[in-house]
Symmetry: C2
Subunit: 568 residues, 2 copies
Amino acid sequence: MDLKNRPDEWKIEQGFSGGQLPVLDQTGPEPRMIAPQGEFKKWKDEAAISAVGDLDQLFAEELDGWKGYVEWEKYPDKKAKAHKILTSQNFPPPPEFQMGPIPETNPVLEGIRWKMWHYAIGGALGTVPEDSWEIIVKEKHPDMLHLLQFPYNGEPPKRLVTAEPMTPNPLHFVRNHGGIPIIDSQKFELSLDGLVANPKTFTLKDLQDENKFPRIEKTVTIQCSGTRRVEQISLYAGEGDEMINAPWAEGAIGTARYVGVSLKKVIKACGGLVNGGKHFEFYGADTYFKKNQVMNYVVSVPWSKVRANEVILAWEMNGEPLPKIHGYPLRVVVMGYIGARSVKWLYRIKAIENPSRAPVQSQEYLYFNQQVGKHNQRMTDGIQIQEMPVSSAIMSPWTKQVVVHNGVIKCKGWAYSGGGRWPERVEVSTDGGQNWYPVPPENMSKKYKYAWRTWEIDIPCDVEGWIEVVCRCWDNSLNTQPLTVRSSWNWGLHVTSSAHRINIYSVNKTKPTTAKRLKEYEDRGVPFAPITNPTEWQIQSWDDYENYWKQHDPRDAENEYDSRDLED
Amino acid sequence: MDLKNRPDEWKIEQGFSGGQLPVLDQTGPEPRMIAPQGEFKKWKDEAAISAVGDLDQLFAEELDGWKGYVEWEKYPDKKAKAHKILTSQNFPPPPEFQMGPIPETNPVLEGIRWKMWHYAIGGALGTVPEDSWEIIVKEKHPDMLHLLQFPYNGEPPKRLVTAEPMTPNPLHFVRNHGGIPIIDSQKFELSLDGLVANPKTFTLKDLQDENKFPRIEKTVTIQCSGTRRVEQISLYAGEGDEMINAPWAEGAIGTARYVGVSLKKVIKACGGLVNGGKHFEFYGADTYFKKNQVMNYVVSVPWSKVRANEVILAWEMNGEPLPKIHGYPLRVVVMGYIGARSVKWLYRIKAIENPSRAPVQSQEYLYFNQQVGKHNQRMTDGIQIQEMPVSSAIMSPWTKQVVVHNGVIKCKGWAYSGGGRWPERVEVSTDGGQNWYPVPPENMSKKYKYAWRTWEIDIPCDVEGWIEVVCRCWDNSLNTQPLTVRSSWNWGLHVTSSAHRINIYSVNKTKPTTAKRLKEYEDRGVPFAPITNPTEWQIQSWDDYENYWKQHDPRDAENEYDSRDLED
């Protein structure tokens, strides 16, 4: 078959292969099609890379007993050398998975660029991707859905997300930004410096000494701002960053009981803030990459948050020492904030005057207005995401699922609000958001100031065919969710807090015609799904058919024959 | 990697592999997951098939000079034998393409079941799939998008659909329901029987004899009721029939100048109707299959349509004899009706009392209410589709395309209304249907009673990012289109007449920040598309960043440090 057109032209025209769509430039006298990026061409300046020096020596472990930790922030020269290595070669672009079908694999995405960057730097980073994966396999539940292998991003499947109001550690979602540093707790130290009266260093034992610091134990929900991103992606493609905007579903949220100390008490032990200190920069031992710069994972929170005792330095999660993948031996837990501020493998806190200029704070996790995109994006166009807004999600049924019921559909899910607010009411609609039923209070899990609530509801549903089930939450401040994904879609694909909508195929067995058809399927042993499979037998008798037409008007009105009409 | 969960679980949960979704049965005391149809298991009763007889003899060509034509309707016994063959074996289910990604191929779908049915019957049908494909390659434009190889369904790519207001024959869409009979026009005869005063037979020469029949020449748009079906599929899966509901885009419509005679004049030549005759059954020489029954392609139209001289028996298309694929030597053209009534390879017209009971009329091309679906579908639940409603489509830009413009976006497309109505006004919105601009009358092609109009418009557009461009038509009766696909979605996936909506990524070059960013891309020689590709360089200077924060409120309100607060 000889085709002049591209075999995938139809898919391109219909937006199924969006990555291959040419740009349509209408600014000239004639419209012009501009080809998208072509094949990746690798280049590498081996001489320049060799000239940088011996990688094992340059990028060695910083500390004994801290595997996979390279200190970057103290050594500008080391950073410059790493930068030189990364800019003396190129790396393949991130995979395009937003504008075409999602990959068939699990892990869905590999994170090949992050792996390659680690290998390129070498030294202590050289085996981090493999070491990390080993921990993941050991510590996480075998049923986790791996969205990104490295840095690891994974969430539990829907059937397990809300199976218990408190998320078991192996099922708690993970959104790592780098590899997993493996730290010997005996050799662990946390330093506190910057604009504090007395900079100090603390061992884990110091922090755990109840004579020095009162313990805090809190039930806290941590949520990634990427939760439910897949809904934004399904609508419109957005930012594809080096860090990979993973196509999270509804499981990038988890609830656990953390034990630790309030950061405020540690600040107090350092004599309080001085010289205009008002923000706290947290340093993670993991290595982070941004635009060919290499660094530690760094973000900050404001004093007001610390002052409210809403920042814990935690070593225990659900009664166990922190799992390695969750930041062992010490992590930050910022209650009611985006998960990205709850730094893992915390080794340093620096009091500073302004919010951190580190890229995770200044360039990422930004909430843009819809007018901002690749064509005009600036850091200052975004709101830095901190407190998470009210949101909710349906965990059962699943979208596109056929649900056979007796006029009542059972739904379950979660609801959450950040900033110390909590779900006060959850409402569910089976008609796309026209009418809402409240979840009975007794069907909602226990109320906490900083945690989600799981819920269940039976909703009356008469209609059949494709219906849209929607849930929304009202928090204790009476905030509620936007009704459509479009209304809060943003280029960074963050904070998908709109009412969660799923389409299900409602089959109401209380309807006699439906019950009869289902019985036909059952009697013949033919599965009802997928619904696209044709019904192979005659679906109505010809007697019924003829009867119908005897009892009703014919298909066409005014169809009487008169031979005089032949002459027109 | 040892995974307990299915590697595709995440995709199943998110509705990306809908065909593998289990049914959720909530009618019992506990919810139950019921597996969808499993792997296809072939069976075949060779003895039963052999017992039917010699296929070459049983299913021989009906007429000399008519290749690929088996007459079924006159021989109930032959039909019964073919049925026996088909029910003595099974055939694979149709491919599932609605609930997962569309196949990567062109032809998109092969029509393997239809091929297998032809091979199973054998005789004159044995080589029809191959003979037909040969004609397709010869007669159709090499750029046609092949949605279904057999029976052939193809449409022109968007760039060619409205390139001319009159569709060139090689680019006219084709929705065949069977193979292509290859008929020698010298040996062609049309018979007219049933409830007419004097049943007669006509050669092509008879019909073309202007002394016997006045000629009609008409510009007619023929449209498949499946046009734009892909939009319904993208929203919700629907009926998957043996005939395959092809995922048509906007090209299943075409306009040509036909020459022929009015059927009314031929009826007159037969002395008119008698004994309650009120409908006309058209017989096509192609072979059709439905639920293991084998038949000719048969549909009917009412007398009222014939009486209005809206039914032509045509032999010429755009100044040429009908192409083989379009029904050579003679076809029906029913003006303003669904294409399925315009029977190709017409060999018989039978006057009857009621609309045809043949399956294409009684069981297919039905327009259902949304409550009808696989769970309860009956033939009598649907309106038999005849006249096509008002509709329209955007041919440029394409959905998901990045459009760079100077504050004005150029769009073009088609508009059509069936039943002898015509597009009187076309309107386009760039804000999802809030505000509408009319296409200037001078930008619309010539008005015909039975044909579409092509159009072009320049629409002001200030906003950037993902915008929704929508078009709708008002016909001369002031009918217009439903605004959303959902509002007219139906199980048969027919008549996608809702306002056509495309999403484009608007880049307004009159905005200074945008012009600057585009120039950066141009200067660096980096393609702007796909937009998901990250911008690899720093997108804002740190000076600008610091300046911004000097001139604005800080991120967090009320963040003043007071050492007394350390005591809380």
